[in-house]
Symmetry: C2
Subunit: 261 residues, 2 copies
Amino acid sequence: MGRDFPITSPSNPRIKRLLKLRKSRDRRRDGVFLAEGLREVERAFAAGLQLEELYVCPALLGGQRVAAEAAQRFEVTEAILNKAAYRDDPEGVLAVVRQPEHSLADLPIGDLWLIAVGTEKPGNLGAMVRTAAAAGCAGVLATGPVDVFNPNAIRASTGAVFSLPVVEAEDEAIIAWCRKRDLRLIAATPEGGLPYQQVSYQRAAIVIGPEDKGLDDRWLAAAEQRVTIPMAAGVVDSLNAAATAAVLLFEARNWYGGQKR
Amino acid sequence: MGRDFPITSPSNPRIKRLLKLRKSRDRRRDGVFLAEGLREVERAFAAGLQLEELYVCPALLGGQRVAAEAAQRFEVTEAILNKAAYRDDPEGVLAVVRQPEHSLADLPIGDLWLIAVGTEKPGNLGAMVRTAAAAGCAGVLATGPVDVFNPNAIRASTGAVFSLPVVEAEDEAIIAWCRKRDLRLIAATPEGGLPYQQVSYQRAAIVIGPEDKGLDDRWLAAAEQRVTIPMAAGVVDSLNAAATAAVLLFEARNWYGGQKR
């Protein structure tokens, strides 16, 4: 544990850096992310992640203890904590946490994976990581602009991004990794694929595209199997990406007899 | 079609009222909602809803035609359109639309329903309505504070709230309606229910509770069946409400052999 002393000035260099970490680019450069609120900070700590700095505001915490230890701990004013936080309710605690380092080379063995291609919103990616964890996926591979350590992604994942391996990589690198691992790419398409109840999920990487545009030709061509969720006629023409992932991943989990993990 | 003349002042009485319609209370009082953007406005029109007022900004529309007719049509400046819109990208068009009037008494016949209890966020409710439509539900019953005609709910539903009957009512009224219709209440619980693959979905109303607190004792006691989605151990302790709805509703659709609708 480090020192406890109150920081009151927003021009303090630590606070200036903290504010910068609201930007994805700065988080990536430093290899860290922000955890906000009691539950999130405690889950990051419980998951074994390294908390570099812990910022607490006793006035906001109102006597609640933070069950997490950090290399350095600082007290800050309510104004500073709220300014540094991304969300409206940081609950008096904020942590700078080292990002877990996963790469394609060191991912665990596993028979079921989710590949999120070009997911538009961080919250959707976080929700899909949560669902992937619940369905027993060994990990998630993500391509595209969205940062899985965006505060909205972390929140929507309810901390699943702390434990489940999530790797961001280029499309071609992910496809090559699947070939090497002998995983079959199963690409979700709104129409024209095999009905999802008739698909084999043996050693499967389920590929979910961006909501508006769907998967591009590269992914459709690379896939061993295209799969479609038949829908009721009329009212809507597609499911959202997170709902598609939920239906397919739990169908795959059933295919494995619920024995994964 | 009404008159075309440009409104330039934010103190114009129509614009003042338009701004008020950003509030749920004012929308309910007037029985209308706001549709924003080309796709949403055109879908509301195509669904047969009554467009009372259409606000267009030619500069923002950039020559695109709005395939929708309204009782009255007004041109407005970019500043006014952006001020009146809830979202960041209203695309130069905004409509005041009469809410479809559904009540428990006039809902259609149907064997599969979704009951959303105390859903916290409008976007989640909208996503669930979209999923319910895709799964072939006859309609959605909602209790709790969330307004299904909130702009975020409409957007997440991709217009499903325009076509699928959605009724907001009190818990007891919904339970009584299900009894009268001989529908079985199937309540989703994170643990302790029958595995969802073993449940009969004959004449089913699937009840999804609020994410943080889950269903209260009243709903659990009223349910003919409690159902649980078995999850992989460890990383997360529950699915989010929309993912739970997706897995259960498509399991129910499979149970019916995909024949609904």
